[in-house]
Symmetry: C2
Subunit: 476 residues, 2 copies
């Protein structure tokens, strides 16, 4: 048995101990999921900039195809084609306030991944766990294809493919395929596949469930198999375009980039594309024949194809926008699938919020009026009736409200406000509003970047695992 | 002042302290030699194989374009486009005998480079220093373009461009341009440019000096300038061919390679080339329109152009062979320049030994009979008279002997035997005789190799320096 197979069994054991309640047998989902040899094929790359505190430590782990930025420790883990983004880790000495209690960090925050397996997972660290300020931890956790661990610490969790856990703290939970959860402190919960759940304690709660059969059509995973469905097909069919990029030490960009914008050399940019000022295109984003207006951003694992963005558009991690025209400040949430066709274009009016994990898979042209909240499953114009509401109407809701498969409880105004604040925050930290030194964001801070490339043992018992590596700052 | 400039001044100070006697002002040779920004342009790469013990530690150093294999520590040093090859480091527990004294290594041998600057230098560690078995050290040393530090520990030395120090121990010495020294224990010596000096205490001594003006034509360095001359022109004019190779993470080979042979993906192979069984082509070798017969090897920084090797040919580090036909087992020594022309080909009979640092720059066809020792400066057939001797004649020498600029003292038979043994040793360790598991050499041991790529800080005060990195084996 190779060491990497032993490591996988070790991780299965650790996660299984946590997932006794709710009982979930994780083993059949992860055994044989990634062919053992694949772990030896790809390199890890860690980004080095003068603007992000630096510390890496990898021990007894496989890191194939994984990207790192910021302070990070990985131990006894398998990270496969994942993104570990620590560009929003908190700095030593920062003071935060939680429920009126002020607390100061005694050290720089660090991402610690231990006894875990992440497959094509995005980890973005702006932790919302006040109980562990210095350590952003992912422990005893399995996260599968295209899942997002976003501002969420994890212990003993399983994320099925395309699940997103956002701004939470989770302990011993299972998140079903394509579920989206932003619900604070979660313990021993099992989230059904395709559930969209946004909760702010004491303010509001949003719930949506996809109609029967819909999620399976787009993504499903049965034990012993690879994940299947139209979302997987969509991503897999574009996989080849990344190969030349990952074969270069410093890939060349196929597009003109204004000085204030940043297009990662590890993004695919093909066809005739335009990139405006203050645009951010992250690594592993895929842009084809599209125009990104000023301040737009395309985050990790998002796809923008044959589309036009008027500007200040956020496409969150894993968002997909095809044959669409998005007005100014349209927000496309995590893993949303907005797929128009050449003869069935999608037009989205300005300032619309497309909720995370929304599927708009057009069979006819669809036009969404400006300033609407959009969720759920939409294939025709008429579906908007039960899957959207103007932001003004949402803001008027007080108490319980139902529309189609969506239910809401609480203050609509707080919900809208929370979303809008967050979008503004994202635009700001990504550098969309940059006009001078004071308002720099990720688009500007990551311009001076170099990538260090770490390859695993190529043969032998340790094949696919990395040697023990520590990288720390040069202190003159 | 950037940190890398401070580091250069620090190294100058350290080397200057050593070089008080013979007094040599190293500063004007190294200041401004490499543009500061160049250190940020290139990446270091360290090779990872299952067959070579692994340990790397880099501290406060610049490593641009440098290759590493084996256990290595670098501290407060500037390594620029150099090769640090630790594939012949001794293992813990090995027992060696020196002058009848048996000594056992208590630890794996490690290369330690400290307070030194190496520019386009080859370091190959098969140390012949019995006084420091666990540490192969290069300390307070400056080595310039295309110099070779071969099996030689160094403290307080300066190697001018194309100097080679071979199988020695050196303390506070200066080696002039294109000098070659293999002379055991050296202290406070100044070796004139173009001196070829081979000495085995109590057995023989070989000396050669190039005629006036010859070395300057091929290589010269004046303070404040870059090195000049035909050797530099030759290398520089082929520099571009390496660019696509260093731009790829895993460069593709442009030649068919038999299973028993190894061609480094970081070698240039262009035109129509043939590679025989058990051939070894190292990184930074350059092969163009040439045929390498079975068991031939092309070591670091060697160039083989429009030439045919019949087999079992050694081309040592920095050897250059152009428009030539080399019979079986012809040995081409370090930095030798064997340049035929399309209408002035060079034919070398089997088992000839072309001494290190020999220049054969043909203006007419030249044919060297088999089993000859060749040295010095040759441009015409007639020059062979004073610059070669059959091995049988050499073996007959006892006592003093002179021919042209060459002088010999001692036992010719011991000299020939020593050379032949060494060639056999090189062929053996390079895997030229491989036929089964027992006789594997570098060609076979380095086949399963991955390269880790380390980039420096891209901007800011630390630009061009690397973060602190430690890589150690994964211990299951």
């Amino acid at each position: 048995m190779r060491e990497i197979e032993k490591l996988l069994e070790h991780i299965i054991t650790r996660v299984s101990i946590n997932l006794r309640k709710p009982y979930f047998d994780v083993a059949p989902y992860v055994r044989n999921l990634v062919p053992v040899d694949s772990h030896a094929l790809y390199y890890a790359f860690y980004a080095l900039t003068p603007n992000h505190p630096l510390y890496f430590s990898f021990k007894h782990s496989s890191l194939a195809g994984t990207y790192f930025l910021g302070k990070c420790e990985v131990d006894h883990s398998i990270l496969y084609k994942s993104d570990i983004r620590g560009d929003e880790l908190k700095a030593k000495g920062s003071t935060l306030e939680f429920d009126g209690i002020k607390v100061t960090l005694y050290d720089d925050e660090i991402i610690r991944i231990k006894d875990s397996m992440l497959v094509k997972t995005l980890v973005h660290a702006n932790s919302h766990n006040p109980e562990s300020l210095e350590i952003f931890r992912i422990i005893n956790t399995v996260a599968l294809h295209y899942s997002n661990i976003h501002g969420t610490t994890m212990e003993g969790c399983l994320l099925m493919p395309f699940a997103t856990v956002d701004l939470s703290m989770c302990h011993d939970c299972v998140f079903g395929e394509f579920s989206y959860v932003q619900a604070g402190d979660l313990s021993h919960e099992k989230i059904e596949k395709g559930r969209i759940w946004v909760r702010a304690e004491g303010a509001f709660e949003f719930n949506y469930r996809f109609p029967d059969g819909v999620v399976d059509k787009y993504i499903s995973l049965t034990p012993g198999s690879k994940p299947k469905g139209e979302l997987i097909d969509f991503c897999e069919s574009r996989k080849e375009d990344f190969i030349p990029i990952y074969s270069s030490v410093i890939p060349e960009l196929g597009v003109e980039v204004p000085e204030s914008a940043f297009v990662s050399p590890y993004a695919v940019v093909k066809g005739n594309c335009k990139v405006g000022n203050n645009v951010l295109v992250s690594q592993r984003a895929y842009i084809e024949s599209s125009s990104l207006g000023d301040g737009a951003n395309a985050q990790e694992s998002c796809y923008i194809v044959n589309s036009t963005y008027d500007g200040m558009n956020v496409t969150a991690h894993g968002g997909k926008v095809i044959n669409a025209h998005l007005g100014r400040k349209v927000f496309t949430g995590f893993n949303s699938f907005v797929r128009g066709k050449a003869d069935a274009k999608i037009t989205v009016g300005k300032e619309c919020i497309i909720m995370p994990h929304t599927i708009i898979d057009a069979v006819e042209p669809i036009t969404i009026p400006e300033r609407n909240l959009v969720w759920g499953y939409i294939t025709k114009q008429a579906d908007l009736e039960a899957n959207s509401l103007s932001l003004d109407e949402v803001a008027k809701i007080k108490g319980q409200f139902r529309l189609g498969n969506m239910s809401f409880d609480g203050l609509g105004s707080a919900f809208v406000k929370a979303f809008q604040n967050r979008i503004e925050h994202i635009l700001e930290v990504n550098g969309a509003y940059c006009d001078c030194d004071d308002t720099k964001g990720h688009a500007q801070e990551t311009q001076a970047i170099s990538y260090n490339i770490l390859q695993p043992y190529p043969e032998g018992a340790l094949k696919g695992l990395c040697p023990t590596v520590t990288i720390s700052p040069l202190v003159p």
